[in-house]
Amino acid sequence: MKRVPWLVPTLYILFLLLPIYWLVNMSFKTTNEILGSFTLWPRNFTLDNYVKIFTDPTWYNGYINSITYVLINMVLSIVVALPAAYAFSRYRFLGDKHLFFWLLTNRMAPAAVFALPFLQLYSAVGLFDTPIAVALAHTLFNIPLAVWILEGFMSGVPKELDETAYVDGYSFWGFFFKIFVPTIAAGIGVAAFFCFMFSWVELLLAKTLTSVAAKPIAATMTRTASTSGYELGLLAAAGTLTIVPGAIVIYFVRNYIAKGFALGRV
């Protein structure tokens, strides 16, 4: 009976890795092997699928577009969320609690509700099919997320820090950038990671707001899946490559993942 405890997490992790393995496995197979036989590992190991993605502009532009809007969104969200989170963590003001709740509702609002009006809104302001449109649209849920996470970190910093700085003759902004921001650097990193992640995984708005010039990689994938029939190997390779950015940085934020997903409330 003593052996049971580690068995549960192990089985669970195996279950998590199986579909990922299958995707990676497919990405190294030729189309013939995928369709012609059922093999547990690639018999004719090939890198053709990856070569195609890195040489065909319709594919690698998808990645560039995705990364562009994700980065714009990340910077924008953090920059505007920093002072707001400071205000929420340090001051009480008229309507503060309701404002905080209103931000939460935007994290919860279904993207499907906003897709069509977003299309019209961003067409009306002339931003349709640009990375900026997607970056701005994703602030809908990323700014609330960043505010909540940063507020959580900032509330952990004692108020005495602020007061000592003023006594030492710092102006507010001097204190904010020279002392406060470095103090919560870890929190900013975590918030940035989650803005990156949520913008990276979202597809509905990104797809609705772009057509050709700014098409994200995820949308390129859905097009391939529907038009060119069974290019599963290529699809699998593209999918594998979208997992990579998350997999690289995940180690650094491993202790904050719960905090990030719970809007800084854990």
Partner: protein, 287 residues
């Protein structure tokens, strides 16, 4: 922390308010405007009153989609919350395996949603997918594009795969915050594992579980991308959940009026549950 009253703090939150309002309020107003009018294209609108609301609320199609949505959310919550809790309780608390567990478990959370759908699509294909092949090999007929039960089974399994880790990580974060002294005291008292769980761990977990249920409820209630990529709402309409149905009406048929009315009903449901869980959460946090 005691906060000082300072109305000038509004200037700090103003950029956030303006940006989010641009993204949230203008589209919401537009949806409300659409919901009371009829359009034949070319920006020609005619007043329709509350007709669309009446039509949507009394239509079988909406009831069916809402019913499927509630059923799906209920199943997913009933599986993911206990399973996530069980896994968190059996995870190691110390040692090198902690990081390995955390990293591997978080992996599904960071995969783009359409890739999750595509991955399961490939994984569950009856002829060349590992899962489909395995189930059919056991002598059970399984084809998620043809059979309703298979489609639901795959959908639920995919969601469990995708999101149980979130519950695990939240519960785990709650568990590691319990000081060792509590466990030692329980050991001295000779408490059984069940008593330890009931009187030490569960009270600590109440808050994180509220958040886990809130997040899982909301996200499963809005499921769209993964489901569309996996089954496209089929077979027939068997897995057409609320978001999928809404998109079919809005972008597929371009029926702005009914889509607007449905959006508002959908939004109000979400708003109610957000408020309910938020109130519960803040009550726990105040303690």
């Amino acid at each position: 922390m005691n906060k000082t009253v300072n109305q000038k703090a509004w200037f700090f939150v103003l950029p956030v308010v303006l940006l989010v309002a641009f993204n949230a309020i203008i589209p919401l107003m537009t949806v409300v405007n659409f919901s009371v009018q009829e359009t034949f294209g070319d920006n020609m609108f005619f007043w329709a009153g509350v007709r669309w609301f009446e039509q949507v609320l009394q239509s079988d199609r909406f009831h069916a989609a809402l019913g499927r949505q509630i059923l799906f959310t209920a199943i997913v919550l009933l599986i993911e919350i206990p399973l996530g809790l069980a896994i968190a309780l059996t995870m190691p608390r110390k040692g090198p395996w902690v990081s390995v567990c955390l990293v591997l478990m978080a992996l599904p959370l960071l995969i783009p949603w359409n890739v999750v759908g595509a991955m399961w699509n490939i994984f569950a294909l009856p002829d060349i997918g590992l899962l489909g092949r395995l189930i059919n090999g056991l002598g059970i007929e399984y084809n998620y594009t043809r059979q309703i039960f298979s489609a639901w089974f795959t959908m639920v399994l995919m969601d469990v795969w995708h999101w149980t880790s979130l519950v695990v990580l939240l519960c785990y974060a709650g568990l590691v915050s319990i000081p060792d002294a509590y466990y030692q005291a329980a050991k001295v008292d000779g408490a059984r594992p069940w008593a330890v769980f009931r009187y030490i761990q569960l009270p600590k977990l109440k808050y994180v579980l509220t958040i886990a249920i809130l997040l899982r409820f909301m996200d499963s209630f809005m499921i769209y991308t993964e489901a569309v990529v996996l089954t496209g709402g089929g077979p027939g309409n068997a897995t057409t959940f609320l978001s999928i149905d809404l998109q079919k009406i809005a972008l597929g048929q371009f029926d702005l009026g009914p889509a607007g009315a449905m959006s508002i009903i959908y939004f109000l449901i979400i708003l109610f549950f957000s408020w309910l869980f938020y109130t519960l959460m803040m009550k726990d946090e105040a303690r």
